[in-house]
Symmetry: D2
Subunit: 327 residues, 4 copies
Amino acid sequence: MINIIRAAHAELKVRDLGASRHFYVDVLGFHLEQETADALYLRGLEERIHHSLVLRRAAVPALGHLSFRVATPEDLEHAFRFYSARGLPTRWVAAGEEAGQGRALRVQDPMGFPMEYYCEMDAAERLLQRFDLYRGAQVMRMDHFNLFVPNCQAGYDWYAGELGFRCSEYTATEEAEPRVWAAWLFRKPNVHDVALMNGKGPRLHHLGFWVTDALSVLRACDVLAASGYHASIERGPGRHGISNAFFLYLRDPDGHRIELFTGDYLTADPDLKPICWSINDPRRQTFWGHAAPAAWFEEASLVERIDGSGLMELQPPLLLERPEHVT
Amino acid sequence: MINIIRAAHAELKVRDLGASRHFYVDVLGFHLEQETADALYLRGLEERIHHSLVLRRAAVPALGHLSFRVATPEDLEHAFRFYSARGLPTRWVAAGEEAGQGRALRVQDPMGFPMEYYCEMDAAERLLQRFDLYRGAQVMRMDHFNLFVPNCQAGYDWYAGELGFRCSEYTATEEAEPRVWAAWLFRKPNVHDVALMNGKGPRLHHLGFWVTDALSVLRACDVLAASGYHASIERGPGRHGISNAFFLYLRDPDGHRIELFTGDYLTADPDLKPICWSINDPRRQTFWGHAAPAAWFEEASLVERIDGSGLMELQPPLLLERPEHVT
Amino acid sequence: MINIIRAAHAELKVRDLGASRHFYVDVLGFHLEQETADALYLRGLEERIHHSLVLRRAAVPALGHLSFRVATPEDLEHAFRFYSARGLPTRWVAAGEEAGQGRALRVQDPMGFPMEYYCEMDAAERLLQRFDLYRGAQVMRMDHFNLFVPNCQAGYDWYAGELGFRCSEYTATEEAEPRVWAAWLFRKPNVHDVALMNGKGPRLHHLGFWVTDALSVLRACDVLAASGYHASIERGPGRHGISNAFFLYLRDPDGHRIELFTGDYLTADPDLKPICWSINDPRRQTFWGHAAPAAWFEEASLVERIDGSGLMELQPPLLLERPEHVT
Amino acid sequence: MINIIRAAHAELKVRDLGASRHFYVDVLGFHLEQETADALYLRGLEERIHHSLVLRRAAVPALGHLSFRVATPEDLEHAFRFYSARGLPTRWVAAGEEAGQGRALRVQDPMGFPMEYYCEMDAAERLLQRFDLYRGAQVMRMDHFNLFVPNCQAGYDWYAGELGFRCSEYTATEEAEPRVWAAWLFRKPNVHDVALMNGKGPRLHHLGFWVTDALSVLRACDVLAASGYHASIERGPGRHGISNAFFLYLRDPDGHRIELFTGDYLTADPDLKPICWSINDPRRQTFWGHAAPAAWFEEASLVERIDGSGLMELQPPLLLERPEHVT
């Protein structure tokens, strides 16, 4: 099995690097590690690698790729054989093609997502104790990818069965034979590296970034509002039942959704039982806080094909798109 | 002029003292100073007097009265002459009729609100440093009364002209000759003791209680949700533009609205200019956070007549009831 | 009686404006309202006047003056007569001599402190909701002056008897006839505008600045340490028994002591009884936290004569200089 | 290699279960999962297993054992062979001998510590979202064991070389050939499961428990002081340079030391380089905050022999016991 360490970084396609830089660097306080003619390489304050977020200029906003860190270079070869054997598209990315990163493998996974595996990235200066540089949301690190998939049970089987993810929490339908409507799946031992939600897909629902405490989230709201980004706050602050996250959802200048959150827990023990939530439990989505707006359920980022031929087409979800209590 | 010190306490009529006790004492953490056959006398953790909130059993939920602390017993006599001279109803309340309180004067003010003036109240044990007793929202003290009045300009003139309140912030219409749509008025030098908002009145919109910091507000949300009061959170947490309050609005078991807030500022300097907000400034009501639900604009507590003859009738507001951006 | 509104600002003499600017503005986040050839005019984020702290270049560090805001211009005339009648030195300061300030009166008070009364100061832009400008300790406003006086009882009598201050808390000796060892005195209704502590005087022990919450204090520690000011943290964070302040004491580049604190309470009710602490109660000074270092009890800023003739001589205290439990 | 998941629980011998219960349960807010005639079984709020701390009555305070969770039952057999092959004492503990726990292996490790390996423990009710039960310090979970060892280099070699721990941070002497003076070692991917510090050993310096945020630490201080445990706060709050922990050190009624902390970071990436601190860097121990008291460097809990024959003898450390800057 490919030894995946964790969800490590993402590449978003954006239309205006200046607007993105203002939002992510000046206001939210991401650290700008490197700026090239067509991209910004950002990271959180505790991250000691070159980047966890790449913003690359493009005509159309989209998800470029999501990247898993693997344990060894052999895992890259293993991944190549694994995906090739299943007839899925792969593409090698040369060292340096993405700044700061060694040789990597891109694949289009069975759900249609552009995923990357990498093993080496340049080390970067430690900023965790450079409190004098902290600004805005004081984002610490990339935590997870949240994905809309048309067939959540199939996605669960892929991640849990083929890629060795464990499940911390999930949502099931209230049918006689319950089906998985959403699942929180992890490799590093917290709540998740990947969440799958039933919906039109493949689409990226959001990127989740970790912050130290709840006041970092409130400070982010204050700074966003004071900086003219009042309308970028889509949902929250509030607390999810599922995952226990104290959350805030933002929409960046291209509409990509970012979650800032805290309030996770340790999932290291191998026999820890997944928590099952009924899809209609009103505290599942919103333990407290305003109901999610319709856009939160409906809008998401389209994803690119790794061969450069454009965007993946969307498939409708197998199950009901939204829980009853929010309709 | 009557020397009013501050907004000091309120009496709410409630239908079920057990339900009220659970909500206010067990969950929100108000200190229960005294319990009688028909009433609960509560206070916040920093308050060193007998009560700042009276919950009295009644068949119909309503506001019993709002009470101002005055400087001296002479102020009570002065108030009696002042209201009598204007033909407004008054009633003396004997010492002890409200537990722990000296002789007091009740009046029906020009807007129809049942107001009380008092000068003496029993001292109570200091709990501020009994951190072992802190629970729930860790409410510190009564701060202000927020009132729906049909004619806000007239209310402003009354409080500022006759009662010596100063204005910290106000909302004006965008007419050629702007009219006051809402006003934040104070005697103690923070943002307000009394807020007036344009609306069908007389009605009590909410009682505002001060908490120490934003995390007290979030903890209140967590404890409310864990205790089954998920639906009691009507609005927030969020930040108001006007007043800068970091707020949370709750509806108690009888529908009375309580605000928990922090984030005030000092208004002691006599020449501090009131801040004017346009009614249509989207950051006025909600600097950030979800838009207020319709109920927040429409629902409020009816108020009693001080002669015991029932509830005051309502008058429609002179101005538009709700800002454009929330319709 | 002079109608004093509150402790409003202070002038510190410093040797190196660049060093002071780095400490106060770049690191602690005071707002620099104006910079002249020989002075910096600073204020906190909620203050809407020109300054609450003046740092003026001088050969020797000292307290230049402490300034009370009074209600009306007549109070200035009143103050002039009041101090003159008692044979105390006075000096008029012309409008604009201190930037942004109207005509003011300086006096050398009976304890030897250089005090100022002023009534007019230029309004300044409101920054409270410019959260994008918040930095460092996020200092909100000037709160109080803490003074070493040789005869605390006499100081108490002066402030309470002649200047109309009320007392919120005090420390008394454990003698058969207890004497006041320290007193917290206020005009604006929180714990204090002026604190008097038994000690060699006249000296300024510290200036107290208000911050919004405890996390602002912790953030200040992080930013100070990250900026090379590790050694500037003299005491704390901790909580005082007296005043309930959650505190941090800093020494600026000239050794002047600054307190950042939160955790105050309202003292508006006229009959609120002062809280008496025994000098040997171990929770009086330090409700919790490390014992204060010797320097905190021994070192303080010398004060200037208002006639420009240098520094006031020091007198030894009448009572024991330090509580037993800290010796 | 034994597949160790994490530092999971500890057993402390205490003289008075009532006193321990008051301190840990009533004041600090540990959840009491089970109480037997001679022991209390406690856990943190996010832990979903029977216990992470056992307090067992004994005549002499000591560390009973420290316990690692392993991946599978086979790891227990593996551990038995591993320790036996090295001539180290072992003892099987039958299922249920420690309440709620399956069969386990106790060993006396090369440094003399009584360590336990276990694989099965009863699941317990999830309390993470029972915010109505949160009290005191709101302890979330066991995080790490901090140990005094006479030969830190040997301890490092054992944990890193034989048990597969990785190193996140370490302290080295300033010699021409630097030696390890302290090391932070982990299996779960945060800063540590085990810390080794140069000192007279084997002794347990402290047990580290995770709390959600800095305000939980401050609340613990407030509640401890209000409950008469003022003197139980040995050190802090402050921030360590090493580990970045925002910390508080307590001494329980038997003198055992407990750390409450937050402010960790993720160490999942396999090539993350350990951070090296010079032993004389003043920010290593105390990034900011008061210097550690002598007791913090000198006092620690003695450890038991797994064969029930009493306490391990102590050996002096090979290196200087305390950094220069704290002498």
